[in-house]
């Protein structure tokens, strides 16, 4: 970070602390202020990483985790005559939870057949299911929602907004940083000797990792068997010393008069620096015993595994890392029965390979992977697909997860008189993204006292920590 930027932030902080409300764009900087407190440096001797797997488009989690107990299956089937998965496809993947982690409704659930590879992880207590999570301003009942929709986040059911809410957990602030980025800002001192940012996205610029102090690094996933960092060829051209100097001088700090040019030059310099760092190391990553699927998501998670393998001193020197990967295609308005199985199979196989890689590195307990998505989909269907919903189930994986359990309250799947139905099969979340995120953040290393800085509405909930992490 340049001195200028520090100076700017200091000025902004003064403005922010001078009475501007949390609802202002400067609300982001409350977390920054905490990071700036000299008395509480967040340093760590151990290593931990969080990996966000974003299912773009809104996964239909009501067909990912499906009831198998007869009464409950019948309700599900009646609600979704056109889309219900056959019982015999779910039964082999019936989940047997730990006694203290039974589904809240007493039903028995199984996994979508494509998610079968995850069953073993559930049995090994490395996989937890968090029920019906979604963006909220605080707990809300159907009656409250119907009486006053303003008690719910604005622009529900829109892709961009709900995907943003998931990534910022701040539906009250359109300009908020991502909650991953806020964690990174707060734990600014966690990686004092690191050569790359704490936040790395393998899938483009992610809002989840946008921060005020730390800029995420965007790298490519592995593709076609290659995980190599790409360089700017021109800078490696033979007999091109003057050309290289010219290229660098054009992008040099202080050489541009236009704000956008400065930003472009800064991004170019950063790309070059990060390449130098990564290229020196990437050839030292291990061969993975369990191959990753040759899919886009498989290639992304493989790259995350590579980067985690480089965490040690003398390499990237990381104590805390946040990763963002993503998989698209879940917006199944059409042909859901044809599209979703392939997506979920890719997801499950990629996650299983990733967990195997973590075991190979001996960091099963240090790395936690969790899913996020725009929203759950509607219980009702539009014939061959489902529409934008609200709450949905999510998976958390890793050795530090109190797995083999269900968390939160399972919603009703009834078509009629459903107390969780916002109106058209859109299920009101019974757990807020704030709770889900705060539970992960607390494990990652955020002090309990600092959690409200990251999640200002956390106090609205009786259980700010859902207990799915050890």
């Amino acid at each position: 970070m340049t001195p200028d930027r520090r100076a700017f932030l200091r000025r902004s902080l003064q403005a922010a602390l001078g009475g501007v409300a949390l609802n202002s764009p400067l609300g982001n900087l409350v977390a920054v202020a905490a990071a700036a407190r000299p008395a509480v440096p967040s340093t760590f001797s151990d290593y931990r990483a969080l990996v966000c797997v974003f299912l773009h488009g809104g996964n239909d989690s009501f067909s990912s985790v499906v009831p198998v107990s007869p009464v409950d299956y019948a309700i599900y089937q009646a609600t979704r005559p056109a889309l219900a998965l056959p019982l015999e496809q779910i039964q082999p993947n019936t989940l047997v939870p730990q006694p203290d982690g039974m589904p809240s409704d007493g039903a028995t659930y199984g996994l979508h057949p494509s998610l079968a590879p995850l069953k073993a992880l559930f049995e090994q207590q490395q996989l937890a299911i968090v029920a019906n999570v979604g963006p909220l301003l605080g707990p809300i009942t159907k009656a409250q929602y119907q009486a006053n929709p303003l008690l719910a986040p604005p622009q529900l059911f829109s892709h961009s907004d709900q995907a943003n809410f998931w990534q910022t957990s701040r539906p009250d602030d359109a300009s908020a940083d991502g909650w991953g980025g806020r964690i990174a800002d707060l734990l600014l001192d966690a990686n004092p000797d690191a050569t790359l940012p704490m936040t790395i996205s393998i899938q483009g610029q992610s809002l989840f990792q946008r921060g005020s102090l730390i800029d995420q690094y965007v790298v490519r996933g592995c593709a076609g068997g290659s995980c190599a960092a790409e360089r700017i060829d021109y800078l490696g051209t033979y007999q091109n010393q003057l050309g290289i100097q010219t290229f660098q001088a054009l992008a040099a700090e202080g050489a541009q008069s236009h704000m956008f040019e400065r930003a472009y030059a800064r991004a170019t310099r950063r790309t070059i620096d990060h390449y130098e760092t990564l290229s020196a190391l990437i050839s030292t990553v291990p061969d993975w015993n369990v191959p990753f699927p040759s899919t886009n998501l498989g290639g992304q998670l493989r790259q995350v595994a590579n980067l985690i393998s480089l965490r040690g001193p003398g390499a990237l020197d990381m104590h805390r890392q946040l990763f963002f990967v993503g998989q698209g295609g879940y917006d199944t308005h059409d042909d859901q029965l044809a599209i979703q199985p392939g997506l979920l199979a890719d997801l499950a196989q990629s996650l299983v390979a990733f967990q195997a890689a973590m075991a190979q590195l001996g960091v099963t307990d240090e790395v936690t992977t969790f899913t996020a998505s725009d929203f759950g989909r509607t219980l009702s269907t539009n014939g061959d697909g489902t529409d934008h919903g609200w709450g949905g189930h999510h998976f958390v994986l890793g050795g530090a997860v109190r797995g083999g359990r269900f968390y939160g309250r399972m919603p009703s799947l009834a078509q009629h008189d459903n107390p969780d139905d916002a109106g058209y099969g859109q299920i009101i979340p019974t757990t807020g993204v704030d709770q889900y995120a705060a539970t992960l953040a607390a494990w990652y290393g955020v002090n309990t006292g600092d959690l409200p800085l990251l999640f200002p509405r956390l106090g609205e909930y009786d259980s700010p920590n859902l207990g799915f992490m050890t």
Binding site: P154, S158, D233, Q239, L242, A263, G383, G423
Partner: protein
């Protein structure tokens, strides 16, 4: 053109270094430098000694004129013609209105003036993609998405079209506006169900091009009923509710047509700023434009539409079996049995809404309801500022002032003849607006936008004309991998980048947005320079590179630039005009000249043997193009 840039150009043009180069007055004249350059260029090639003395005299007079103009901004008449539009200003205008000005375009704008040039563009023959696909098909060539990209590149770069060599693709403004519309009303071949439908996507793009200067209401309807959009946002095959099966109308198109194509999520002021429902409270308290009931209302309206030729009997199973069958490029048609004609639909509510309470009474057929619903959208007060702002962002600047947005939105609301939604008037107004023309002077640190990655290749192909041996435009790799974008290839309906994306750091801290920065990630800032470098260093006419020898490979013609490259400064100044509208800093100019004057490497890409002069001219053109096209200064269109 920078101030200091003028002197060497003059020297090069006249082969006489004593003229302006020796005159310190010229060096320090900024106002009028373009006029000098133009006058000198106009005299090029006339070489008798007498005329050369005349040239010298004229140039010296121009220097004095320019100096006088700089001093007190005099306007000269009496037969001494000072061109109204400088070369740099014309190039800058063309950067906004087209994919970049070629020398002939710059001359044309200067001859005609902006307004007459626009009028000429409005009536230029339209270039369409679908006929190119038909031609390939008729010639037994495989037709995939690649084919429509070929057509797009041909039209954007004005290449010779093998399907119709007489067609000059002169509709540059139309193609530029169509590209902007394709980033607002998004359809994408990334969608699995459209991946193998090149005709549908080509015709969708053609639909945008046809309507680029038409009325937004018609555009909205043509987009709504296009089978590519129908498939992409699943209005195609949408059906009325069935309580027994617990089926409800698909909300996909209903939601996005409101959120992205017309009115947006929150109520706007006429200048595009967010309406604040409670000015007393700190911060802006926005008012939602619509709620879920309205989305449901539109979803119910948009029921009963399918491919042309579908019937109630085959409604769920009537997709044309071949991508070149007409229903893929014929407007969707209604099948009333699947249209909801029994429920009232809640549509948009706003001051002056035509339907009482925004409520559409039941009973009308699918066509009537669709028309009524689009009328309801079209007359919403948000649509003008919402669309105006995005068109300005796509063509001119990421951060227009509210006053600029307000002026263009007002033209959208009423073109002066009482017509609402006249895109021709909107395009004209937004390009002629004082902020478009002078924003780089009034806000020199922030005006402009990041150049779109794929437009950089087009720009290169325009200034160093690209052509292939057989007229095809073949690319080995998918542009998505190199540029993170391709026409009608966005990752989602939210386009390659969002209108409100703000690059972290100085831009975001200043409260500004920079949409195109969203795809200029760390990986993109490697892959794009590498790809452009590959084209620049290896794909030129005469290159000995084996891949460049393929008949369908587009090769750039460096002959004009290489002729200039005898003098590094002359080459840099020429490229400054053609690529950067004369806005190159002196710092950058001096760096480039020093680089081009540097030692020749042993190997020049694509060249074996050759004289020192040949090697040097090629080296200079390659280096100059690469260093400019990847530079931070070029990367921002200002």
């Amino acid at each position: 053109m920078s101030t200091a840039g003028i002197a060497p150009s003059v020297a090069a043009a006249t082969n006489d270094a004593i003229i302006c180069a020796a005159s310190p007055t010229c060096r320090w004249v900024s106002f009028g430098a373009q006029e000098e350059q133009a006058a000198i260029e106009g005299l090029r090639g006339v070489g008798t000694p007498t005329i050369r003395y005349f040239q010298i005299a004229v140039v010296l007079m121009l220097c004095l004129v320019a100096r006088a103009r700089a001093a007190d901004d005099l306007v000269f008449g009496n037969g001494f013609e000072v061109p109204a539009i400088s070369e740099a200003d014309a190039a800058r205008f063309l950067d906004q209105a087209t994919f970049g000005g070629r020398p002939s375009d710059i001359a044309q704008v200067r001859n005609l003036g902006y307004e007459a040039w626009l009028e000429q563009q409005f009536s230029a023959p339209i270039s369409l993609q679908k006929p190119y696909l038909d031609w390939l098909h008729a010639n037994s060539q495989g037709v995939y998405q690649q084919a429509r990209l070929e057509a797009w590149f041909m039209q954007a770069a004005q290449m010779t079209d093998p399907s119709d060599p007489t067609h000059a693709h002169s509709d540059q403004l139309r193609q530029r506006v169509a590209f902007a519309l394709s980033e607002i009303m998004v359809v994408s071949d990334r969608n699995a169900s459209l991946l193998f439908q090149p005709w549908a996507l080509a015709d969708y793009y053609d639909t945008l091009a046809r309507n680029a200067f038409g009325n937004y209401r018609q555009l909205l309807e043509d987009v709504t009923l296009h089978p590519a959009m129908g498939r992409y946002l699943s209005m195609l095959g949408n059906r009325k509710a069935d309580d027994v099966l617990n089926i409800r109308p698909d909300e996909n198109y209903a939601r996005e047509v409101l959120q992205l194509f017309s009115v947006g999520l929150v109520m706007l002021n006429p200048d595009g700023t967010v309406f604040d429902s409670d000015p007393v409270m700190p911060g802006v308290q926005p008012v939602p434009t619509y709620d879920q009931n309205v989305v449901r209302g539109f979803a119910h309206v948009f029921t009963g539409w399918n491919f042309s030729g579908c019937t109630a009997q085959n409604y769920g199973n009537c997709e044309p079996s071949n991508p070149y069958f007409a229903p893929w490029f014929t407007p969707m048609q209604p099948v009333e049995a699947f249209h909801d004609d029994t429920t009232a639909k809640q549509l948009l509510v706003y001051p002056g809404v035509g339907l009482p309470g925004g409520l559409l009474a039941p009973g009308a057929n699918a066509q009537q309801e669709m028309a009524a619903a689009l009328d309801n959208v079209f007359h919403h007060p948000n649509i003008g500022p919402f669309i105006a702002r995005q068109l300005i962002q796509r063509l001119v600047t990421s951060n227009p002032t509210p006053a600029y947005v307000g002026r263009i939105a007002a033209v959208f609301d009423d073109d002066g003849q009482g017509v609402r939604g006249n895109l021709r008037a909107v395009v004209r107004a937004l390009l002629l607006d004082p902020e478009a023309r002078n924003g780089h002077l009034s806000a020199p640190e922030t005006f402009g936008k990041v150049r779109e990655p794929i437009a950089r290749l087009v720009k290169l192909w325009r200034i160093a004309p690209g052509a292939s041996a057989n007229g095809r435009v073949f690319q080995y790799s998918h542009p998505q991998d190199q540029f993170a974008q391709l026409p009608l290839g966005a990752p989602s309906v939210f386009n390659f980048f969002r209108p409100d994306f703000a690059q972290s750091g100085e831009i975001r801290d200043a409260g500004l947005v920079s949409p195109e920065f969203q795809i200029h990630t760390d990986t993109q800032l490697v892959s794009m320079p590498n790809y452009l470098g590959w084209r620049i260093f290896w794909f030129w006419q005469g290159s000995n590179y084996d891949i460049a020898a393929a008949p369908e490979e587009t090769l750039m013609d460096y002959s004009e630039l290489r002729a200039l490259a005898v003098n590094s400064a002359a080459l840099v100044d020429r490229l400054n005009l053609l690529m950067m509208s004369g806005q190159m800093s002196d710092y950058m100019r001096q760096l480039l000249i020093a680089r081009l004057d540097g030692p020749l490497p042993d190997q020049i890409p694509g060249l074996s043997g050759g004289t020192t002069e040949e090697r040097r001219s090629l080296f200079r053109v390659q280096q100059a193009l690469y260093l400019i096209v990847t530079s931070p200064e070029f990367s921002i269109q200002k």
